[in-house]
Amino acid sequence: MDQMERRSLSVLVDNEAGVLSQVSRMFSRKGYNIESLAVGTTDDPAVSRITIEVLADEKHTNLLCNQLRKLLPVHSVKLLNPENSIRRELILIKVNAASSEACNRVIQVANIFRASIIDVSPTTLTLAMIGEESKAEAIVGLVKEFGILELVRTGMVALERGTDTIYEATKEKGEFDYGKNVL
């Protein structure tokens, strides 16, 4: 399990100025690049939830989690188990569709991927699709031949399946679990 993998961290933080910068700078300071980042408030407007994806091995991911827990505005940090979590990302693609043939084929691809067409102009179509990377890569690969004018992604957001929530992963619990090491 100790290999470089893309890992998702969910982080609850105070919804205050400078907190995102504090969190993201911690990654660069420790020499890690953030692969994907999504931030938004939760049902409590004073608390934001950050989903960060980082390429790291398990040991270093745990060290990063500990460093995150050290930041005062951080309430809780949870490393999401990929098998037990749902990850989604919204991707918007503006595609060249000047000819009616191109237009039809793009609409077909969109239907297959359950992407919606959210904007039309005489020469372009804009698709919106929700999914994981593999789905995003597949649709991008298919519409590439028509010419992608612009592409934007929201960054991955993730939640655990079932009844588990991040609220059980308080910092003290994280510390407690970490303290239970075995020789």
Binding site: G18, K70, L72, T170
Partner: protein, 568 residues
Amino acid sequence: MQMTGAKILMECLLEQGVDTVFGYPGGTILNVYDELFNYGDKIRHILTAHEQGASHAADGYARSTGKVGVCFATSGPGCTNLTTGIATAYMDSSPVVFVTCNVSENLIGKDSFQEVDITGITMPITKCNYMVRDVNQLADIVREAFAIARGGRPGPVLIDIVKNVTAETAEFTPLPREEHASEGRLGALIKRASHDLKLPEPDRGDVEKLADMIRESKKPLLICGGGVVRSRAHREFLKLAEKIDSPVAITVMGAGGFRGRNPLTTGMIGMHGSQASNMAVDSCDLLVAVGCRFSDRVALDPKTFAAQAKIVQIDIDRSEINKNVQTDHHIIGDAKRVLELLDGMLEKQDHTPWKDYVFSFKTETEYDQGGSTLTPKQISDVIARVCPQDTIVATDVGQHQMWVAQHFHYDYPGQLLTSGGFGTMGFGLGAAIGAKVGNPDKTVIHVTGDGSFRMNCNELATEQYYHLPIITFIYNNQTLGMVRQWQTLIYNGHYSQTTLDRGPDFVKLAEAYGLGGKRVCTVAELEAAVKEALASGRGYVIDCAIEMDEMVRPMVPGGGRITQFLVD
């Protein structure tokens, strides 16, 4: 009661028991200094020559007294001048609250005169920092800042207050320090993350396991790290070491956590560690590191470090566990509490054969006697002989720092003030000033090199003005000795930009500042000078001539196995 922000700040400092502040005034912090004028009988302000000096002084004050140091500076260059001091305090976990003022709210973000984003700049070198833009939050934030600086693993905190907040008024309700944790921001923070502020109670099972490991061990080794000093756990550490009859290696930051004269001491560990310490690390079967983060100067090569041993780390900061060296077991908690618990679980042990092996190696390097100049060992011997035993030693960074760490014997935490983590040349004089202000009854000396001293010798003015009888010893080798040593050993003797064959005349410099000065070349001259300096009751600079090619020995190159001595 309605009060201005500046007055609220003063009241909050009094709540924290602050009676001494180091700092330097300026445009945006004028309101605070205006109020300080009225509080002059309760809060003593030490005006330094430069903000950096103030930052080191507050740090030295904190390290030597165990209290939280406080430092003021103005916006812009005032606060950027603090940054080296903040980083120094951060790397060595020293509790200091820095208070800076920024330009007024209406000027923020306009690149106004002396405006800088100091909270952004100091983000990676503070435990946390605040920008106060609402006077109603000021008291709450100051209370939180002090609790954080001192709580858990201590460290620096910065509060940046915009100028108009210091003039605006708000309702201030005095609150005794014990009640701070039950209200406001601090109350909320404690509720959700008490371990950041309180001392985490070590897990009994974890400690029991360590006790078992110690019982099974035939060749144990203890490392006394900076955490022992910060938590003032020296008594508990001594008790444990004697009970389990284990040799003790001391890190630079751990100096004073274990008595340097104790027969169990193997001396310093790491790059310039003694043969006994480094050989013991290499052959022990159990290594218990207390409050030590295995920096690259201690665990030079993490892979071969204590390869035959089970490594146990005791640290208050969980993010230090397994960061540099992979451990076999760890305990999260305050050193004092863990050692107390551990002591109760163990019975007396005897490790005579193991100790005989360890102490067959040298615990201290022997130097040749110098010709026309002094040797580092001679200087430390004279200082140790003539100065009182409880003398506080502040150092700068370089060869002299290592010599002083190796050859002096420290008896209590806070006796050696040195920038171990950040390696800040120019730290010593400011730190010595802070230490003398905080410990007026103790002798304070400042040990430096000619390179380091030249960096911040402007603080001699502070020393003179406040009548602080600090004795500065310059190990003057006319070069940046430590860099030269590397150039000799690793860089083919290319002495690129390290030779300091230039002024000033340090004796004349001291005299210009109104202090005493002496240049010495022999033991007799040195001894006479130290006696004269002690008797004079004023600041003194003793310029000690040493050989340019004198080396810190032993030395293990960075990244190497701890027993691969480049020089013995």
